[in-house]
């Protein structure tokens, strides 16, 4: 009751009184509170978006844009089954991916994801990129799978993936499975 001066007191009965605070003071109190909380959260959102946001890139885009070196990137490409090697001692997984379009519209226009992946892996002229990933070998890693990787491209032109997601649309058109590694 430190703010008694701000309240008008209505005498109801000898031993009963209620405080009716002046509305504008209350409104200010709440508006300031809201403002503080909301601006703190907006700050959090902006800072974390900038720090953790990932650029979605295709193999072509990544290779043609030197600015992307060392940047946090999400890359999508078709897996070349023959290039997969897995060192079970170090859990180092190496494979190559081939460029596929990033835009769903382009993929649809070219006959769907399964077709795009098939064309990419059988096209000798498409751009390729070496990928290194350390961890378990995902169950779905095989030829013509779509790999979605988070990581960075190094100065050696190799893509170092921190996470690896795979999609195999060949048979499960309806329920494209996907699995993540860490």
């Amino acid at each position: 009751m430190a703010n008694c001066a701000e309240h008008s007191v209505i005498q109801l009965a000898a031993n009963e009184q209620i405080f009716i605070p002046k509305p504008y003071i209350i409104m200010n109190k709440f508006i300031i509170g809201f403002f503080v909380i909301i601006s703190a959260v907006i700050g959090l959102i902006v800072v974390n978006t900038v720090n953790t946001g990932q650029y979605f890139q295709t193999v072509d885009e990544l290779l043609s844009n030197p600015n992307m070196q060392g940047r946090n990137v999400r890359l999508s490409g078709a897996v070349l089954g023959d290039t997969v090697t897995y060192n079970t001692d170090t859990l180092e997984l190496r494979f190559e991916v081939v460029h596929i379009p990033g835009d769903q519209k382009d993929i649809d226009a070219q006959g769907g994801l399964a077709t795009v992946l098939y064309k990419a892996t059988t096209n000798p002229n498409a751009q390729r990129l070496k990928v290194v990933y350390v961890g378990e070998k995902p169950d779905l890693l095989r030829n013509e799978a779509q790999a979605i990787m988070d990581g960075r491209i190094g100065t050696d032109g190799v893509f170092y993936a921190d996470t690896l997601l795979l999609k195999c649309p060949t048979r499960y058109e309806d329920q494209v499975p996907q699995q993540s590694g860490q």
Binding site: T52, E136, Q175
Partner: protein, 668 residues
């Protein structure tokens, strides 16, 4: 073929009856015709037996192996066990949409069966809103994603799918189907999707009531009470679905993870968050006559988020482990969401003035103020997560560059908000209505705060002292202490006045105020879940290595011995490679685990199943990653040590029990 046609007809008739019900119920009010209303009601009811028939027919088609039906062919195969054939009903886009509509018709049936004495004026509009919604989903079932279409082949061998034979074609009957996606062949498939669906669809009833109240202009709270129970019911199933999904991921899919901030997981979390906000703020409306606009808005937002989540899952807009492939549903869904949200919000503004609060808000530290803060925090979570989910779409729209945010974004941004919510759970129960006094609260809270801080820092120090874990665990202990002392205070008072023994006093106190004490029980569940999450997120350690037979690996005070490797073919055709490992602690064997990999030759897909030793203290989680040819016997393992993770599941169970207790019976 006959069965498929029958199913398609039943689905179509259900659609017609919904359209009829939605129009007739409104006309009945306009013309004051009770018989028309009755006919609308019966039509709305009729959708249930029709859709039940359609779902049963689809199950029969799947279990009998009618592979000429495209859906059956896509989601099932001969060698699947029968229980998975039944779950194949919701294993793909078309079937799960039909199942969704069936559940919705069940909810509608139950809602229309209840006693409507107090809400007679709302009744026609509730029928109408519910029927329109169901009609929308049935439109998808009938036109865009019909599960009963069959394969047809023409003279040139071209295969098409349609309900009725295109000219010059004959029915194509494949020998076998593709089978359910191996990742879905798990007992979790029986219960996780139906629970989530129940949770999602349950919010349709509160939404229908809210819309009806807005249309009629009802400003009293009677309908709100009805709504609250339905929301609690939906919330229960949504919570169950989320927890079960987490457990399934932990056991099979996630390799030690339980939550991946996957867009579809987020889409399920969003209505849960706004539903949680609603269940809190509705208390304020009932007790104090405040927050009326806000509650209506929350009901509308929650249902909109349900539809948005369904849209994101089913349109192929976002890629995720749960998503269905790209489909034609997008534009239809988007139009529906937009229209629905605009109409609802317009109605809310139209009735704005009749929903004035009965008293003003006094202080942040009053109970009302803290409930408001709770709501603010939940909605801030909704906005944050929605931002993360939609950011790729917006960034492409505005910069032409798709930028995504992943788990690091969600963890860093929502972490402090979760922390604030846990602390708030401890403070709010002690606050008083109307007045806020920092002095009074401080007097009651300093002791639990100090003890909580000591325990939190202590427990964190046992594993690894970090400020995040110390803060999180301290908040958890603080809130636990305050909540337990609330039980204690109430029970002690009862013990004194009624002379009852402790347990009886606690029970009698709780059943006389189910919402309050059920709510506290839910809070305890949440706090325990928070402890589990802190444990696995901040204290998890991992190691990996290739070892020869009888070799060993060490992690976090445990030693794992590799004993044996078996390979065999299971009855359903998958070939299994199974390792036997023993787990030792302080020179004593504490368990034997069987991590394995299943290989499905028909789909060329493997599935990795961990071996886990669980205690209240930690989980020792072993994955068989690879192996040399069977003669050489060497194998590669990855091991996770997940401290405290079981409190996540225990908390989940307590949480669900708390909701059940709170929702059990309507209070006087």
């Amino acid at each position: 073929m006959l069965l498929a046609n029958l199913g398609a007809i039943a689905t179509f008739l259900a659609w017609l009856s919904c359209i009829y019900a939605s129009v007739m119920s409104v006309l009945a009010v306009r013309k004051s015709r009770a018989d028309w209303l009755e006919s609308a009601r019966l039509a709305a009811f009729l959708s249930w037996p029709l859709l039940t028939l359609a779902c049963l027919l689809l199950i029969v088609l799947i279990t009998q192996g009618h592979f000429e039906v495209a859906y059956v062919s896509r989601v099932s195969s001969w060698n699947m066990p029968w229980y998975l054939k039944v779950t194949a009903l919701w294993g793909g886009q078309q079937g799960s949409l039909l199942f969704w509509s069936w559940l919705m018709s069940t909810f509608i049936g139950v809602a229309l069966l209840r006693d409507w004495k107090q809400e007679r004026d709302l009744y026609p509009y509730v029928i109408s809103v519910l029927s329109i919604t169901l009609a929308f989903f049935l439109l998808l079932n009938n036109v865009l994603e019909n599960p009963f279409v069959t394969y047809w082949q023409d003279a040139f061998g071209t295969v098409s799918t349609a309900l009725f034979p295109p000219s010059g074609t004959t029915l194509l009957i494949p020998e076998d189907g593709n089978g359910l996606n191996p990742l879905l062949r798990h007992p979790g498939m029986i219960i996780h999707p139906p629970m989530l669906y129940l949770g999602f669809i349950g919010f349709i009833i509160p939404y229908a009531f809210a819309m009806a109240a807005l249309i009629v202009g009802r400003t009293d709270d009677a309908w709100m009470r009805v709504t609250r129970r339905w929301s609690l019911f939906a919330w229960l199933f949504l919570s169950l679905g989320l927890v079960l999904g987490g457990r399934w991921a932990y056991d099979v899919l996630g390799w030690g993870g339980y939550w991946g901030w996957d867009p579809v997981e987020n889409a399920a979390l969003l209505p849960w968050l706004s539903g949680t906000a609603f269940l809190h703020s509705v208390v304020i409306q009932e007790k104090r006559g405040m927050f009326k606009h806000w509650n209506l808005a929350l009901v509308i937002i929650t249902y909109s988020l349900v539809v948005l989540g369904t849209f994101l899952t089913r349109s192929g807009t976002l890629s995720s482990v749960h998503a269905f492939a790209a489909s034609s549903l997008g534009p239809v869904f988007l139009s529906y969401i937009t229209l629905m949200a605009i109409v609802a919000m317009a109605m809310l503004f139209y009735r704005w003035n009749s929903l004035k609060p009965e008293r003003p808000l006094e202080s942040w530290l009053s109970k009302e103020g803290l409930f408001l803060l709770n709501n603010l925090l939940f909605m801030v979570l909704v906005v944050t997560i929605l931002w993360g989910v939609l950011y790729p779409i917006f960034s492409e729209l505005f910069t032409g560059q798709v930028i995504t945010v992943g788990p690091p974004f969600y963890e860093a941004t929502t972490g402090p908000i979760w922390l604030a919510l846990v602390i708030l759970m401890g403070v709010a129960p002690l606050s008083a209505w109307n007045v806020g006094s920092a002095k009074r609260l401080g007097k009651m809270l300093w002791l639990p705060a100090v003890v909580g801080l000591a325990l939190g820092i202590g427990l964190s120090w046992l594993y690894q002292l970090r400020w995040e874990s110390a803060a999180g665990l301290s908040a958890a202990f603080f809130t636990t202490l305050v909540t337990l002392s609330e039980y204690f205070r109430g029970a002690a008072a009862r013990r004194r006045t009624k002379n009852e023994p402790w347990l009886k006093a606690i029970w009698n106190m709780a059943i006389r105020n189910r919402r309050r004490y059920g709510g506290y029980f839910i809070h305890l569940g949440v706090v325990l879940m928070a402890v589990g999450i802190i444990g696995v997120e901040l204290f998890q350690t991992t190691t990996q290595g290739s070892i020869p037979l009888h070799g060993s690996l060490q992690l976090a005070g445990y030693e794992m011995h590799y004993e044996k490797l078996n390979q065999f073919v299971a009855p359903d055709g998958r070939s299994v490679t199974r390792a036997v490992v023993s787990v030792w602690q302080n020179g004593r064997q504490v368990g034997e685990l069987y991590p394995r990999q299943d290989f499905y030759p028909d789909t060329q897909q493997t599935s990795t199943i961990p071996g886990v030793r669980s205690t209240l203290q930690d989980d020792f989680y072993v994955l068989l990653v690879g192996w040399e040819p069977i003669a050489a016997q060497g194998a590669t393992f990855k091991i996770y040590h997940n401290p405290l993770v079981n409190w996540l599941w225990i908390g989940g169970i307590i949480f669900v029990l708390g909701i059940t207790f709170a929702a059990w019976r309507e209070e006087a």
